[in-house]
């Protein structure tokens, strides 16, 4: 179902809701397309007319600065008209259902929704119920998926490691609540890395996680041993209040990325983080700002990757789903 929902009859990207069900070829196509936009960003004229006359609504039911800004920049550089709508959760709790919100916006003749929502499955729901000519891009739904973030991470990994074959990747932190981790795991497996490890205390690892094709590990020494890529996840402060963790201090001691435990990894390992980072909670400043960190490159790659996804989805419009 997921596969058909996302793809047009010709097998091209119609919606981008999750990595699940997408082929290696399609993910590679996204990365290759993004490559061309990276080159463009380095030119003085940073705009192309690919989406001229198209209207994109950034529909954010949950706050986000970074993701929304990069989506906005990506759309603007493709010459689309962009409207940002921050629908705080209070607006929907006043009685307007998700479906009513969508129907109202549809009536304004838009071409694409970029959606962020606090509930898992919201983007799927919108894609299933929106008019057939509208594409839906998932900018993060609950704890389910954040596929554009995962693709910009894959792009960054490919920039540095050239190929995914043989790579060992460690994802460290709150896997349980992380839509980023879920999408990264799917993408890394589809692109064929050798091994994915998830490192966290048991409180922050989902049940039966190994069925997702990863190895759960509970210490940094074991988990980071010989890895090529380290992906740190942001730790939400509220996890302290609900007995997931005793304290930030203890978390940093066990699972924080420091210069000392960075040495467990391969010498040329790269350090990634989807941001925003908590210095001294999940990552030491010296590592975040150190030579192995590619955190800021991730941010700039985010624009190119989102341009690729927006343009690909817009181009399949009109093809039967």
């Amino acid at each position: 179902m997921t596969k058909h929902l996302q793809l047009s009859e010709q097998g091209r990207l119609k919606h981008f809701l999750t990595i699940e069900g997408l082929s290696t070829e399609l993910l590679t196509e996204i990365l290759d397309t993004a490559e061309s936009f990276v080159d463009m960003s380095e030119h003085r004229v940073r705009k192309v007319p690919l989406l001229r006359g198209k209207t994109i609504i950034n529909l954010f039911f949950e706050n986000s600065t970074r993701t929304r800004t990069t989506f906005e920049l990506a759309a603007t550089r493709l010459s689309a008209d962009v409207l940002n709508m921050n629908i705080a959760t209070s607006a929907t709790s006043k009685g307007e259902s998700l479906l009513d919100t969508i129907r109202n916006l549809e009536a304004m003749h838009v071409d694409m929704f970029v959606v962020r929502h606090a509930l898992s499955g919201a983007a799927h729901f919108i894609a299933q119920h929106t008019a057939p000519h509208i594409s839906v891009i998932n900018a993060g739904d609950g704890q389910h998926a954040h596929p554009t973030q995962a693709m910009l991470d894959m792009f960054t990994i490919r920039q540095h490691k050239k190929s995914f074959a043989g790579l060992k990747v460690a994802i460290v932190g709150d896997i349980l609540h992380s839509r980023v981790a879920r999408s990264q795991i799917l993408a890394l497996n589809t692109l064929g890395v050798a091994e994915i490890r998830v490192i966290a205390p048991k409180t922050l690892i989902p049940a039966e996680v190994s069925t997702m094709g990863v190895i759960p590990i509970h210490t940094m020494a074991e988990g980071l041993d010989d890895v090529d890529v380290i992906i740190m996840l942001r730790l939400q402060k509220e996890r302290m209040n609900s007995a997931f963790l005793p304290s930030e201090g203890e978390y940093f001691k066990c699972f924080g990325l420091t210069e000392a435990n960075l040495k467990f990894a391969k010498p040329d390992a790269i350090v990634m983080h989807p941001g925003p980072i908590n210095r001294g909670v999940e990552i030491a400043s010296s590592v975040a700002d150190g030579p192995q960190s590619v955190i800021l490159q991730q941010v700039s790659n985010g624009i190119a990757v989102r341009m690729a996804i927006l343009s690909m989805a817009m181009h399949s419009q009109g093809e039967p789903a």
Binding site: M1, H117, G121, H124, F125, D141, P206, A207, E208, V209
Partner: protein, 427 residues
Amino acid sequence: MSRIIIRQGRIIDPAQGLDTVADLCIESGKIAAIGEHLQASADSQSIDAQGQIICPGLIDLSVRLREPGLSHKGTIASETRAAAAAGVTTLCLPPDTKPSIDSPAVVELIKDKAQQAQYPQILTIGALSQRLAGSELNNLFALKQAGCIAVSNGHAALDNLLILRRAMEYAASHDLLIIYRANEPALSGQGCAHEGQFASRYGLPSIPAAAESIAIAQCLELAELTGCRLHISQISCMQSVIKLQQAKKYGLQVTADVAIHQLHLTEDDMIPFDSHYHVIPPFRSVKDKEYLREGLANGTIDAICSDHQPHDLDAKLGAFPETEPGIASLQTLIPLSLKLSQEHGLSLLDTLAKLTSEPAGILGLPSGQLGIGRAADICIFDPKATWHVDNATWLTQGKNTPYWQQTLTGRVTHTFQAGRLIYQQDQ
């Protein structure tokens, strides 16, 4: 009242261990005779039941009618029509109506509506605590006097174990059955799916099996302590079966049921984010399902119910976690029970016992059997007939079923309630 002779059906009456092809005669609302070539009289009607199964009308331990208070989801009229079409002749209505079944007045209102709907055999389950809030007991004796068959707190939690203990003691004093849905709210939280690979993969807030089995362990202890008659409703996991089996082995008087869909569907069957699979307790693992089936076969689980919960369309439209849980399941009860019997090797007689004589025993009812002189609550179904789940066949107001647009085998053709034909399949 005239005589009705049902000819040449396969009569299955679990209470008597009867499984035979014969005629069955209804007279004056009662079962008058079972035998070969029963004599027709001038005014008798005849129903040809060749190739069909005749069994006691089903007794369903949990059917939400949604009335009073939630008639946009279902009404007593609409849902009893569906119950009749499902072969259900007696149903228990849980207390979470609006208002909840807190007082004899609500019980009376429901009785009146049942009469109007010409489906009198609705058994109300009284609310254990006031407004189901979990802190203060209702006037349980008054509810019993008004006709409540049992008391329960529905899906709502009780504040603490002391309330449950007192409720059990007080109910035991009035020989009232407590129906208990086992759930430890601190562990289930805002979960909407089983804590297993499906919820992990799709990032859904999850409910561990232990949220149920811990609560079962607790209520079994308190049943032992208080001597209360306890029935545990809609169990869903392996550890619950094991705990019940142990308690029964040591002689505790406790019974349990399982919802029909839990015996068929698991987390592996769920279509991502399809809210028709949103149900509480959630669809568990394949292993849990196997234990439930085994527990049913070995008598640990006494009864099967539909756990029918009709919803309006809006309730199921939204991101999965915000949709309302529950499945409209009355009309899938017979087809899924037949499927269970075939797949698990449980005889049809034993399977039907879980829908007739066993629930009758739990509730202390004289019905659920085809003994001569008993009220003629009878279900006739064609075990081979296939039907398509769609607007033409579906009678409940709620179209919320994972089986929508599927073809099922086994269809009720006639339902009699106290000798009155309350459903006949359109030819």
